[in-house]
């Protein structure tokens, strides 16, 4: 199974070369991969019906990450959709994008997407599932932004990525919490005992985090807005990713987790709530739009909401309904998207206002569109009808008036939308479309036609899919064996009545669609404050905040940086002083000698001169005085070598400063008094801290210094009587080694600073 997943990635590597070689037939050639995978999965059907297939490949076992795959009914249904529709999409795309300069790249990402999607639905390991989850987001990003020179495409691609990856990050946290609840990263192990999960203290947290991921991916309210925008992608991408497969990843995840997480009040509330809102809102917006892809996108949102709601209801019927609806939707919506692409490709328009009467020029396309639309509307005997009946039954079964009424309203609107796509472009006079429309070539027609026909076939012969496929998927979702008895005719029952009413009302609504749009235009204003606007504002605000924060923090003023650092230091050190109640005890001045005090006095006054002098040369001279007094201190406290070094260094420093200073202007008092007072306060506090630290430290000597060893070892081991020098060149020669490299570096730096430029000037 690993190979099955990887095959897509591997093929992707060769796609550009293949496109160069196979040229127009690249799509067809590449379609053989999903096709053969489809067949392979199909052959596994009987086996999976007996028992799920599992295969494990180690990846990062220490982190519990492995490439473990789990093929049960649910994964198989998804895998078949991915490969099956994938096959058609590859063929379609090969024709649709024929001769496009970036076709090679397109197939790279499409193949990668397919592989990632397969990996996602097959993964048993939470983390490998997450890995593939994120890969679908990235490939989706690359595909939405396929027309990358178009600013809108870029914007939409980014929006989609931010929403899905943002949700993905939360999902990862959710997975980690989930795994910590069950002590494993394998879904098959985690889901064995649902009660354990539901009763766990972290249940709510894990659920909310995971739902966040699933809802963003599957465009549930309030994260739905990225999906219509994703229609900036080429139509094959919309058909495949943003309708049939990727957006269902979230649904897949909910379904997958149902045995563990499902059935609680929170679960039902969240899923039905979000699903219901999404469903109604999606189809409402679909009916209000006039762009064919937008309409389809919003109706996809409606479908995703429906699926979520069904999983949320969680009854056996609901689960069977969900699986049926999943399949049905993939078929007709895939077909409709591809047809939208054909219209765009052949007639050059995506707007219902400018396309009419196309059945005359493209009858086959029209036929396929009609079939798919009928399935969408849920008209007898299409597969969509079967699904819709089950949907009504489930929502009746939930005994919730709200759900029921929402479902009915949605169903009515769906009919109107179905009419819009099934009737509007095809009937009436031939409009003057931007391009002279022709019937689509076979490569474009094959996919929609086949899917449309299947919509009919599965409706008429629902046993083809009900046993083996849908019931085993539903069993996997329910966590117990379910029998899906799909039938066209259940007899006259409430569901059928509702269905009938919705068809009629829906058609009427279609006839009044313009008026409906006019009535409901208040919603446009609402949507200005909707989630998309909120998201955009959020991102905008984030950037504004960043700019404000950064221009406050990284403002270019060195002294601000230094003050921040110093204040941090003062605050932290001060708080330890206070918290640990450090009392300074070393306050002996009895051993004071007058001349030492005089030297210190001169030192301090020289320091003051260096600071407060209005002449910088006076400051430098004061530095010299500091140097001599410090050297004297070193002498008085028995450090002749240090003293010598100090004097020499100080002399050289003064020379250096003098060499440099003559070019610089005289001091100016640059800071206002207030600033100087503030700085002085900080400076004094720093000085005070250091004084206290010295006094505190010398009062708390915990250990004697190792220095005695050096004194004893100097002559016998170090062969020298100047202990300091022996330490420098022998005991701690490595310090000295570093030190001479510092000097070297400083010299190179100075050299480079001065010379590099002077040669520039020459040039």
């Amino acid at each position: 199974m690993l190979f099955v997943v990887l095959s897509g990635f591997i093929t992707a590597l060769f796609a550009p070369a293949l496109v160069r070689v196979a040229d127009r037939h690249a799509g067809l050639a590449l379609a053989t991969l999903p096709a053969s995978l489809f067949v392979w999965f199909l052959t596994l059907l009987p086996e999976v019906n007996q028992a799920p297939i599992r295969s494990v490949h180690e990846w990062v076992p220490s982190l519990g990450i492995q490439l473990s795959f789990w093929l049960d009914g649910l994964s198989l249904l998804m895998a078949l959709l991915i490969t099956g529709i994938g096959t058609l999409i590859f063929i379609y795309a090969g024709t649709y994008l024929k001769g496009h300069q970036d076709l090679g790249r397109f197939f790279v990402f499409l193949l990668s997407f397919m592989a990632a999607m397969l990996g996602l639905v097959l993964s048993d390991n939470l983390i490998s599932l997450f890995v593939f989850w994120e890969l679908t987001s990235i490939t989706s990003f690359m595909l939405i932004g396929f027309s990358h020179t178009d600013a809108n495409a870029r914007r939409c691609a980014m929006q989609g990525l931010y929403v899905t990856v943002g949700g993905g990050l939360v999902l990862m946290a959710g997975f980690i919490v989930f795994a910590s609840m069950g002590g494993s990263y394998e879904l098959s192990e985690l889901l064995q005992d649902g009660d354990l999960i539901r009763d766990h203290g972290l249940y709510t947290l894990a659920l909310l985090l995971i739902l966040c991921g699933a809802f963003t991916k599957s465009a549930q309210f309030p994260f739905h807005f990225w999906l219509p925008n994703a229609m900036a992608a080429p139509t094959p991408v919309s058909a495949y990713l943003h309708s049939a497969t990727m957006v269902k990843a979230g649904i897949y995840l909910l379904a997958r987790l149902n045995p563990g997480f499902g059935g609680t009040e929170l679960w039902t509330l969240m899923l039905c709530g979000a699903g219901g809102i999404t469903m109604l809102m999606g189809i409402f917006l679909a009916a209000r739009h006039t762009g064919i892809k937008k309409v389809l996108a919003y109706s996809t949102i409606m479908a995703l909401g429906t699926l979520t709601m069904l999983i949320g209801i969680g009854s056996d019927t609901a689960i069977i309904a969900a699986m049926t609806f999943l399949l049905a939707h993939s078929l007709y919506k895939g077909a409709l998207f591809m047809i939208a692409g054909i219209i765009d490709h052949e007639a050059g328009s995506k707007d219902f206002a400018t396309i009419e009467g196309l059945r005359h020029v493209m009858p086959l396309t029209a036929l396929a569109a009609g079939l798919a639309a009928l399935s969408l509307a849920g008209v007898f005997p299409f597969f969509g009808f079967v699904a819709k009946e089950l949907l009504f039954e489930s929502s009746l079964g939930s005994a919730s008036t709200i759900l029921m009424s929402v479902t009915v309203m949605a169903a009515i609107l769906v009919v109107a939308v179905a009419c819009l796509v099934g009737i509007k472009p095809w009937f009436g006079r031939v409009a003057s479309s931007p391009k002279a429309a022709h019937e689509a070539p076979l490569g474009l027609l094959l996919g929609p036609a086949l899917l449309a026909i299947l919509s009919l076939v599965f409706g008429l012969q629902s046993s083809l899919v009900s046993t083996g496929l849908i019931d085993s998927a539903a069993s996997a979702v329910a966590g117990s064996a379910l029998q899906a008895k799909l039938a066209l005719w259940h007899g006259v029952n409430t569901a059928l009545m509702i269905s009938l009413v919705s068809l009629i009302v829906g058609y009427v609504l279609y006839r009044q669609l313009d008026r409906f749009r006019a009535w409901t235009n208040i919603s446009d204003r609402i949507s200005n404050y909707g989630p998309e606007a909120a998201f955009d504002r959020f991102m905008e605000a984030l950037v504004q905040l960043s700019k404000a924060l950064t221009s406050f923090l990284q403002n270019g003023y060195l002294r601000f940086y230094l003050i921040t650092i110093l204040c941090t230091m003062l605050a932290l050190v001060g708080s330890v002083f206070v918290l640990r109640d450090i009392t300074v005890i070393n306050f002996a001045i009895t051993d004071l000698l007058l001349h030492e005090a005089a030297i210190l006095l001169v030192l301090v006054m020289s320091v003051a001169t260096a600071v407060f002098s209005r002449s910088r040369l006076a400051s430098v001279a004061a530095l010299g005085a500091i140097g001599f007094t410090v050297a004297l201190l070193y002498v008085l406290f028995s450090a002749p070598d240090v003293s010598i070094t100090q004097i020499l260094v100080e002399t050289l420093t003064v020379i250096l400063l003098v060499l440099v200073l003559y070019k610089l202007p005289a001091y100016l008092t640059l800071s206002p008094t207030k600033v100087r007072i503030r700085d002085a306060v900080i400076a004094l506090l720093t000085g005070l801290t250091m004084t206290l630290l010295i006094l505190a430290t010398t009062a708390t000597r915990h250990y004697d210094s190792i220095t005695d060893w050096f004194i004893e070892a100097s002559v016998p081991l170090g062969e020298g009587r100047n202990i300091v020098n022996v330490i420098l060149v022998d005991f701690r020669a490595f310090d000295t080694l570093g030190e001479i490299f510092v000097l070297t570096l400083a010299a190179i730096g100075v050299f480079a600073m001065i010379r590099f430029r002077s040669e520039d000037r020459k040039a």
């Binding site: 403002n555 003051a608 420093t653 640059l670 400076a683 006094l695 730096g749």
Partner: protein, 115 residues
């Protein structure tokens, strides 16, 4: 003595801090000189101050005649002084070059790189 020394070192730190907070790059460098002096003296003081006993062993002896000042601390300070000098030399030339390119001794005119 220790107390006075500690206070003096505190003054050095305070002065250094005050100077590096100034806008003038020359003052900045003077602050750096003070800072390195302060740190060196701090090590010297904290390691313990011994009068009249340099850590040099008389000729022909194996050990000094009596306790001597801490040679390890002195070696550390020596290293620190020389490193400080290297760094300072660099800093001095840096302000010289900075002045040449910016034509001002004012840090406030050197904030364009950040913003």
């Amino acid at each position: 003595m220790l107390t006075l020394m500690a206070i003096s070192i505190g003054c050095l730190y305070a002065a250094a801090t005050y100077m590096i907070l100034r806008r003038s790059i020359v003052k900045l460098v003077i602050g750096l000189v003070l800072l390195s002096n302060a740190a060196n003296l701090l090590i010297f003081t904290v390691a313990g101050m011994t009068r009249k006993a340099p850590p040099i062993i008389p000729d022909g002896m194996m050990l000094p005649d009596g306790p001597v000042a801490d040679p390890l601390a002195q070696a550390l300070i020596l290293t620190a002084i020389v490193i400080g000098f290297g760094v300072l030399a660099f800093a001095v030339v840096l302000i010289h070059r900075a002045y040449e390119v910016v034509q001002a001794d004012d840090m406030d005119q050197m904030k364009d790189t950040d913003t």
